[in-house]
Subunit: 344 residues, 4 copies
């Protein structure tokens, strides 16, 4: 069975990643591309400044870019992926939902709204049923699911694995790649031989989204997980791959071996883009490293390492490819979950 | 009064920093340079591969490099600075101490030894009196003082400021510059577009040295501070300046304002190379940044910023120039303390 | 004697360099700062996003930013430095000239105009007399002098030294730092682990300006030098300092020693900011290097090295600090020349 | 038909690239790995510090590393690839040739020897018949072919295309990636925010090898091409991909269009690893760029761009992946040529 999909905001950095991921997808067929008004009516290859180091697939390059409105795209699109800037998404996504479209969105708006599911398919697929609540509340015919922020999604799978030991306090320091800020987000003069210990809005996202993702869904609402989370977010001179140092205090004692076992035991989801094993844990304490390990599992696997028990609790490092597992791949996987769960 | 000083291990990266710092020193006169056997007898300018972006001072460049033995240097040297590799220092420093020299050492060996003072002059100058114990124990005529590791020294001044609120647990994540590994310590292929979440031996140093520095000296020994410290150390693609994200849990409640006041209230020491104010706290949450702020106070001031109270405790960032405040400048300042306290 | 000076376009990257250079100038007193309308009326420290790693001088930070119009600045300004974007400069500079101001401009517009002197004080100070022609042609009471492009000024002093051997063909390849594009000119995603072999407009500038600078002035006009110049310009991941590989074919035979002698024999100008010797030539073939050598002579000296005779002619490398010698410092030096020559 | 191949010097950077390229080769079966004595007897996965961002193929990781001597490897190896350091290769390769092995070597020794073929299969495959001369001269049963240096091989295909216009003088400036120096060849402190305008031995290699590659083989010897070549070689902060600016003076007039046509008309060789079209020429003057374009044609295609006619002649840029097309891939292709031509 083929699912016809479209991309809202197809010319940007995440939009390009969507195209690359969808090009070889077994069941999704890319049938619509939208962008802002200056691109509408152009061939995609002329509208996008393509930045990926493999050429634009020919059949995609010749597609005509459409306006980001429900009227502009044909009715036979089954599923939309959104990589719109969050302010644009807040304006535009509701129209598609009212028009009955199912949307898997990477945009950051509305992630913490009580009736919007925020999901990682391997971690909290059941939250998807918030769609029922959402439809009741909003009168939408469509359905909207969000994936978390790139820095959140890097850490949360490891926390999910450790939650059996009673997570109390989590402090996390991130070393984030420049691609997370979009193509023009970080200038070269800002970052060569430098580091910026601040990313606007990022720390609250990590602190809140992680608690929703690990929260319990009772059929009506998600209660936030009780753990306290403190995040310090840094931009460093790497291109792709967010590395994070996590310090976790748990109610139960946990050895490094138990923590590693727990992480390695998290299965992939039974979905096309999910890896067999969600988290790979390295023995070598100098791994994971962004450039060497970000492509594991086609960029969809989480890596971890340096798992150590200290006087102050457990500490370890984790890594994910921020524009694949942390953005386009995260939405894609939610799209696969929507299909699998019968919402598409 | 002029103090005649020498440098043990003068050709390496830290040795070169010593030379730069000593060149314009008001009271210290550089009178002896030693290095490994392959350099002995050469003019310094031929022995050292000079890597600092100002030329070697002419009078230093023409000095003859001597062997790193007490016999090789003249008796009228009052104070020695050591930037020997720690394994060499372990072999060689004792001979100088037996011969009666006063040594301010940056080498990492023996920092945790019970009778070796580990000092930051603005923080724990009183620990210097461990020299009495040291002389009793070891029968040395000289005196040995160590400064802490570069990553430790970046954080400890801020912790000293916060200790009044009852430090219980400290988690710290470091973003360390490549110069900390010495000139050839990190290859370009390791670090371009990459990060290494591991620096051998660095985490135990931070976890232990910080507790000794903040420990109490009762005239006979230093009792370690009771706080728990967890450190995760990362090497990133910056040249100079270690940036650190600190998460601190305290027994007393502390507001961001109180924390900032406490940090800004730490005075410099009354020594030539100490800044007037030890810690500068930025309002701008995106500061301190390594390239913009590492030279503050001639590289001797600590910078801090991003002071925030979270559910999980206080968090903030701090920065120091790792080869000045974190290495050569730290030893130099200890040398000034030794003179001021009458040990030289 | 104090000369009261102003900066047109004081908030940008070159404007900030002007401020840094003027802060400690012996005879120039900074008395006016202008910027675009959004900054007008603000204190300079609030208007500029200061990017230099030493703080804004206090007395400058508190100055009020004025509009870039002759009316906005007081009459007792003797000399203006312009770092306006070239399109703005084309609109705005003429008004100041009509109003009688003497302007030393770094903006690229009008550099090749027949009646605008394009000068490097150590190389072609006599071209300044084009001001007579300029006043006749344009009816200006003021005077306008331009300095060449940063990549041109790095190479031309070495060519001037070699011109005695009969320059026929010059091919030059540049490795240019990102600061040359302004603070936001090159994104991090464009340049990390990458190189861009194209800088819009740069190659024609080098090919034309070099011929004007080395051209002969007969009192009425400058005839372009007859050499053929081919330039390939690359942006690389360095912060400051343009390095250039020059290949020069000459009518006369020239040995490496003769070429080196010729370069080292170019004196500085007798002006406050000119180095004693204009070009320093390294013996070490691996020098000059941008990070190690860009600060020579306070960023005003040209470095050269690798001088070699090949079957295809002479080749060598040269380097200059692109925002000092190549921009703000170049204009400053032209300002000093204007004063020395009696135009101010 | 399967060809059983071995790698001499399998643990280094180029050795690892050989393994990656051979893993999926249709006709070559990797059957022997050798390395220096410290690795002999170990499993490959323990002997090599694997640095490629895909895991070691399992069946290769479990192979036992052998000594680099003819006795240590089995007789049924048909073809050897050598990535030994050139000094080791000079000592060791002759023993394999005397023992009858056919060796395709990337090592730089002996490239200019009169009886050693230096080949790029798409450019000068006929030079391979120097093997006859070689066997006569040296009494070898085996055969030795070399590929050129990585910086030479990037430029020579474009020169071969232009030679129809009468190449007289070629000046070339290279911007070379750090991987060309091997894993530890360039330290991070040397190259971050910096450039090194010198690579020992590189310039003579480019100047000489290019003339041999384009020289004529008359059955007995290769006469060097008469063009004059001047090369300036720079190391810049990129990981992979050498970019080169070429300035070419020709006896015949040549337009940019003619030059582009000539380059685009060079066919690939009819060998498994050769691209269909050897040189891709970009219209976009800002391309090729190392990070975006080095992987074209699985790293085996040459890219060019910026083709322009200036007063001083033709100029253009070219790019190749230095450890694939410039090293391991070059040897592999020569190996395929040896098989195709019947020497294996």
């Amino acid at each position: 069975m083929t699912v016809r999909v479209g991309i809202l905001g197809a010319t940007g950095a995440v939009g390009q990643r969507f195209i690359k991921l969808l090009t070889n997808h077994d069941t999704f067929e890319l049938a619509a591309l939208t962008a802002s008004e200056s691109s509408v009516g152009k061939q995609y290859s002329n509208a996008a400044k393509w930045r990926i180091n493999t050429p634009i697939p020919e059949n995609i390059g010749s597609m005509t870019v459409k306006s980001t409105t429900p009227d502009a795209i044909s009715d036979d699109i089954d599923l939309l992926f959104s990589s719109l800037p969050s302010d644009v998404a807040a304006d535009v996504e509701p129209a598609f939902l009212e028009a009955g479209y199912v949307v898997s969105s990477n945009s950051s708006n509305d992630r913490m709204s009580a009736d919007i599911p925020l999901t990682i398919p391997e971690i909290n697929p059941g939250h998807l049923d918030l769609i029922e609540v959402q439809r009741d509340n909003r009168g939408w015919d469509g359905a909207l699911v969000k994936n978390p922020n790139c820095s959140t999604i890097t850490m949360v799978p490891t926390l999910a694995a450790l939650d059996q030991f009673g997570l109390e306090t989590v402090s996390v320091s991130t070393l984030q790649a420049v691609s997370g800020a979009g193509y023009s987000g970080v200038t070269s003069m800002e970052i060569i031989d430098n580091t910026i210990p601040y990313i606007g809005g990022e720390e609250p996202k990590m602190q809140q989204e992680s608690r929703k993702l690990l929260g319990e869904f009772d059929g009506a609402s998600v209660s936030l997980h009780e753990m306290d989370v403190a995040a310090s977010c840094n931009r460093i001179p790497t291109l792709d791959g967010h590395l994070e140092n996590v310090f976790a205090e748990t109610t139960a004692d946990v050895s490094a071996e138990e923590a590693i076992d727990a992480m390695e035991s998290v299965p992939g989801a039974d979905l096309p883009s999910s890896p067999d094993q969600l988290i790979h844990v390295f023995d070598d304490p100098s791994r994971p490293q962004p450039r060497l390990d970000r492509e594991r599992g086609n960029g969809m696997q989480i890596s971890a390492g340096g798992v150590t028990v200290t006087d102050a609790g457990l500490k370890y490092n984790c890594l994910a490819h921020n524009t694949i597992r942390g953005a386009a791949g995260a939405s894609l996987l939610n799209g696969e979950l929507l299909v699998d769960a019968g919402w598409v």
